[in-house]
Each structure stands twice: as C-alpha cells, then as structure tokens.
C-alpha cells in the first residue's frame, strides 16, 4: 500500500461530519498554524515542493509568495473546485466524502496568506456537493473555526461557497474570478496576475482543491517530510481519477513515482483492462494532454519505465510523451475509434470556448466540423493536413490555455494514429456504423491501409 495523506481517513464511518472529523485529528493544523508566523507556513509549503494539482503543476509555495502583502489591500484565497477537465473527478470525491479537510486547508492557507475573506468556487453541476460544503462550513462556524477572532488568535476569516453554472472555462483562474464577480467567464489578459490584482482588484491566490487539502498535512508534518514522499521533483501523493476501459474505475491516491504499469494493472488501482481486451491508448492527465499510443504507455521512447510523475509522463516532449495534468487517467481499449474520440474532445472544446479570441472561437469549431466529416465518411485526403494546420494556428495564439488544450489532443491523435484517419477517409463505407471498431477493431483492418498507396 502506498502512502496516503489525503484519503487516509476516508473509510472512517461518519468522517463527513464535523464531530468525527475532529475526533480524528481534524482542524489540528489550524491550531498549530495560528501559533506560527504566516510567512513560515508559506516557507513550509515551498519546502514541500507541492505543485498545483489542478493541471498546470506550478509550485504552490511560490505562487503564495507572489501575493501582494505590501499594498495593504484586502487579500483573498479562492479554491478552484470548478473541476471540469474531461477525465477528472477527484476533487468531487474529496469534497463529497471528507469536506472538512478542504475547509481546514482553506483556513490554514488563508491564514498563511493573510486573507480574511475566502471562497470555494464549485462547478454548478456539483449542486449536492455545494450543499455538503455549505453545511460543513456552518459546522465550522459553529465550532469557532471561522468568523471573528478564531480560537482567540485575533485572526478573522469568513469562508463561503460560490457556485458556477456550467462553464469549463471558469476553471481558468482569471475566468473563475470574473465569474465570482458575477460576470461571464472570460479570461483576463495577464499581467496583472491575480496575486497583484485578482478578485475585485484585490491580491488573490487561486488554488485547486487537492492542493489546498494537502496543506494541513504539510503544516502538521513539515514541508521537508512531505518532500520525502514521491520522487524527485514530483513530491507527495496525487489523486488520480481513473476511467475508461479498466476493471476498477475510481479515484486513487498514489505516491508519485509508481510505474504506469503498476497503476494500470495492480488490483489496488485500476485492476487491468476491462474484459481483458488489448490496451490501445491512454490519456494520462485529462482530455487536454496528448494521447499516448500503446507502445509509449509503459515505456518511454528511450525504453525506461514510464512513471506516474510530472517528469516521466512528459518524457519525450510532445513527440513521444504527454503530461500528468490533472490526473484524469483515461484508458482506451482496441474497440475505441481514435477519430471519433478526437472529434468528441473537439466538440467539447468548441462548446466550452468562451469566444473571446478568434483563433479559439473559430478554430475549435473548424476542428469539430472537419473531424465530424472524417468520422462520418465524408472526409477528404487533405483534411488531415488541414486539421494539423488549424490546431497549430490556435496553439499559443489565445489569451488563456483553452486554445492549447483544444489543439494538443488533435495534434497528438494525428501524430500517433494517422493511419486511422487515413482509413476513415479511404474506406468510408466501413465506418458507417458509429461502433465500427467495436464490431471490427482497427488492428484487424490496419493491413488495408498499409498496402494501399495514395
């Protein structure tokens, strides 16, 4: 069993309630933090090496250290619980089953940042979890962990949940802030960064649920202890949301550094492939990250074991690697049509583009349409190069990373599965049924494509 620090208490009956949570050591990090200097807590988080768990992997302690404490403006901590990256459902699990862990982390972190008004921004679809958090916050107020003069320390903190309404883009931190201000979720141009001018133009830090939930452990055990968990620059544990064609989909806390092969096949985690069918592809970190073909999943291009770390999953760059991202681990077997799946992702990004930047607003729609026609037997030979061209012109040309996130899955699918696109264009009659590869996996018909020349 790997080390667990977030979900170690998840199986204690009643851990969702304040009483049970408190009996099991809950809120101790707040007691300890209130006796510390706020900046010393930031130093501990820096020493832990904890990297933002929302997907970008930016060092959390460093992000905290950017917050403007000099201007004297009110400061805010905002928890990003707008979990919407396809393949990701870990924050939901944590908030639903152990909500007080997030609230404890919010109090400890807000104290470190000197924030007196903080928010948890949760996606609108998680409505029942919004209610769970509201209830838990009420319990925390009632027990004196929130409000004025917390436990006689002189520190005041108000914490509220804010609910979104179905927009993936609000997971981008500046769009999230706009949304929290009651506006459309259009990302802001940076700089200024939220640490200088965020919510209501006040210095603001936005952190993912899982990142904030790790802070109590760091405060109790020190950053140095946290840094001992995991491997090299991938310190700590990571929640992985596992889905797709595996035996045991679900949320798993892993110690970073285990092999992808172990995660995939061990009974402790995914338990191997559903129905024992062959593994075809893996999206290791949510829909935005490049898809990996079977031969690059367990081993890197250099032949070393692929590990569940930021570094190993990105080994080989975009040519032969991917990213850990949000930890949305989506497994595909041989019945999956990569073209259809790429179209599906493109539809998602087109739907979720906020429309501010032309390359993304128009480009995502073009990607979706062209992929749809290839998948539906109306593709043209030149379409594949056209897709490549479009994605390359979205990437890097938008205010926020949604444009990149829409481009990367298309680029990777063409890079690694180009033959499948060719097959769709050349054999439209064979892909009429949408379950074409369920009926006849691509491996069975691949020879048709290799024999033929254009």
């Amino acid at each position: 069993m790997g080390k667990k620090i977030l979900l170690d208490k998840i199986n204690i009956p009643g851990i969702k309630t304040y009483e049970v949570y408190r009996e099991n050591g809950g809120y101790k990090s707040v007691e300890k933090a209130l006796t510390m200097q706020p900046d010393d807590i930031t130093e501990e988080v820096k020493a832990s090496g904890l990297r933002g768990r929302g997907g970008a992997g930016f060092p959390m302690g460093m992000k905290w250290s950017f917050i403007d404490k000099k201007s004297g403006k009110p400061r805010h901590l905002v928890c990003n619980a707008d979990e919407s990256e396809p393949g990701t459902f870990k924050d939901r699990y944590l908030m639903e089953h152990i909500p007080h862990l997030l609230i404890e982390g919010m109090i400890t972190s807000s104290f470190a940042l000197g924030a007196n008004l903080s928010y948890i921004y949760i996606r609108g679809e998680y409505m029942w979890i919004y209610k769970i958090l509201e209830k838990a916050i009420k319990e925390a107020y009632a027990s004196g962990w929130l409000g004025k003069n917390i436990k006689g320390s002189g520190y005041d903190l108000d914490l509220y949940v804010h609910v979104g309404a179905g927009a993936y883009i609000c997971g981008e931190e500046t769009a999230l802030i706009e949304s929290l201000e009651g506006k459309r979720g259009n990302p802001r141009i940076k700089p200024p960064f939220p640490a200088i001018s965020g919510l209501w133009a006040n210095p603001t830090v936005v952190n993912n649920v899982e990142s904030i939930a790790a802070v109590p452990w760091i405060v109790m055990n020190s950053g140095a202890e946290y840094a001992k968990i995991g491997l090299e620059r991938s310190t700590g544990t990571k929640l992985i949301s596992a889905s797709g064609h595996i035996k045991n989909p679900g949320v798993y806390e892993i110690e970073m550094g285990i092999t992808v092969e172990e995660f995939m096949n061990s009974d402790e985690y995914c338990g191997g492939m559903m129905d024992d069918r062959p593994l075809k592809a893996l999206v290791p970190g949510g829909s935005s990250v490049p898809i990996l073909p079977a031969h690059l999943i367990y081993k890197t291009a250099a032949g070393t074991d692929r590990l569940m770390t930021y570094e190993s999953l990105s080994d080989g760059g975009f040519v032969s690697g991917s990213m850990l991202g949000s930890g949305g681990f989506i497994v595909y077997n041989d019945t999956t049509c990569i073209v259809r799946n790429t179209w599906n992702f493109s539809r998602f990004y087109h739907h979720e583009s906020c429309g501010q930047c032309t390359p993304c607003r128009e480009g995502t729609g073009w990607l979706e349409k062209i992929l749809w026609r290839i998948e539906n037997g109306q593709g043209r030979e030149e379409d594949i190069d056209l897709l490549w061209n479009i994605q390359s012109k979205i990437e890097g040309n938008t205010i926020c990373p949604l444009g990149d996130a829409a481009s990367w899955p298309v680029a990777a699918a063409i890079r690694h599965f180009r033959e499948e696109f060719d097959y769709h264009v050349r054999f439209p009659e064979k892909i009429k049924d949408r379950n074409h590869f369920v009926n006849e996996p691509f491996s069975k018909v691949q020879h048709l494509i290799s024999k033929q020349t254009v």
Binding site: E125, V163, G182, G244, I330, N341
Partner: protein, 176 residues
C-alpha cells in the same frame, strides 16, 4: 410540447427572498453583483427550471444591476435555461469517458423509449433528453444529471426504473 410564447409566472416567495439575502450577505456590501450566479440558480429552481426575460429583469432589480448584466450571464452559462424545459430533464454526459462506456447507445434508447428526438420535450411536458459535456463522473459512466443529482453507472434497465420513479413522483429534483 409547444414552448414558444409561454408566460412565466413570477413568484419571489418570502423563503426565496430570505435565501437570496443570505447569498448576498456572502459578498462585501458594495459587491452585490457577485451573488448573481448563486441567486440565478435559486430563482431558476423556484421557477420550473427556466428564466424568462421578465424573471431576469426581476433578478437585476433585486441585485441593483442592469438587466443586460443578467442577460449576458444567463446566455453564457449552460445551466441557465432561457426557454421552458421538461419537469424531468435528463442531461446525459456525452464526453469521451461516457461515450467510451456506451452513452450514445443509451441516449438513443432513451429517445426511442420516450418517443422524442434529442432536445425535444414529451407531449405531457414530463421528459426531455439532452446531451451535455463532461459532468465529472467519468469513472461512473454512463450517467446523467437530473435536477441537483447524478444517476450513475446506468444501464437500460436502471434508466427504465428511473423513468418509473419519475412518473411515481419518487424523485427529488432539488435539495432545499
């Protein structure tokens, strides 16, 4: 069901207003507008799950903002409905992980069972089948959202049961 030209009866009850005021209190006094999204959810839930222009204007009045500030938000976020919807709107997640685990076939089944196309409302106004993007339930696919709740790991059989439960009024849509 014909849904154009339906007038919406606006009823901001005392209980609803209390909740709205509670939500407004979560933000600094000069930042009332910040409460817009949470308030719209509450108002929509209390008005058959949609927001007419008149109702949006009412929200603008309550929050002391311009009507356009409400319209532009309502039209941006997919969870706000600007037209009447069915009492039981089945919102199926159709993104990759759910598609991988058979949601497309299940949606076809749901449509044929209810005798509607995607998006249409049954003639009794009870049911609607809608495809939405990732709901964050990827490990529990296929699934759908109904009101405030998720129904996961669905099969044709469990979907049938869900319809029966709706008809028997055994389903709670909102946790108030």
């Amino acid at each position: 069901m014909e849904i154009s030209n339906i007038k919406q009866e606006i009823n901001i009850t005392e209980a609803l207003m209390t909740r709205i005021n509670e939500l407004i209190s979560h933000y600094p006094a000069d930042k009332k507008k910040s409460a817009l999204l949470p308030v719209l959810h509450e108002v929509q839930d209390a008005h058959h799950n949609w927001l007419s222009v008149e109702l949006q204007q009412k929200v603008a009045e309550i929050l002391e903002i311009l009507p356009i500030e409400v319209y532009e938000v309502v039209t941006f976020y997919t969870m706000f409905n600007t037209k009447p919807v069915a009492k039981y709107m089945f919102e199926f997640c159709r993104t990759s992980c759910c598609a991988t685990r058979g949601v497309e076939d299940l949606m076809d089944y749901a449509c044929s069972k209810l005798g509607v196309k995607e998006g249409e409302i049954t003639s009794d106004g009870l049911f609607q089948v809608v495809g939405v993007e990732c709901l964050g339930a990827c490990g529990y696919a296929p699934m759908l959202q109904l009101g405030d709740f998720y129904h996961e790991k669905l099969s044709k059989e469990s979907f049938d049961t869900l319809i029966e439960d709706c008809k028997a009024e055994k389903i709670t849509l909102h946790d108030k």
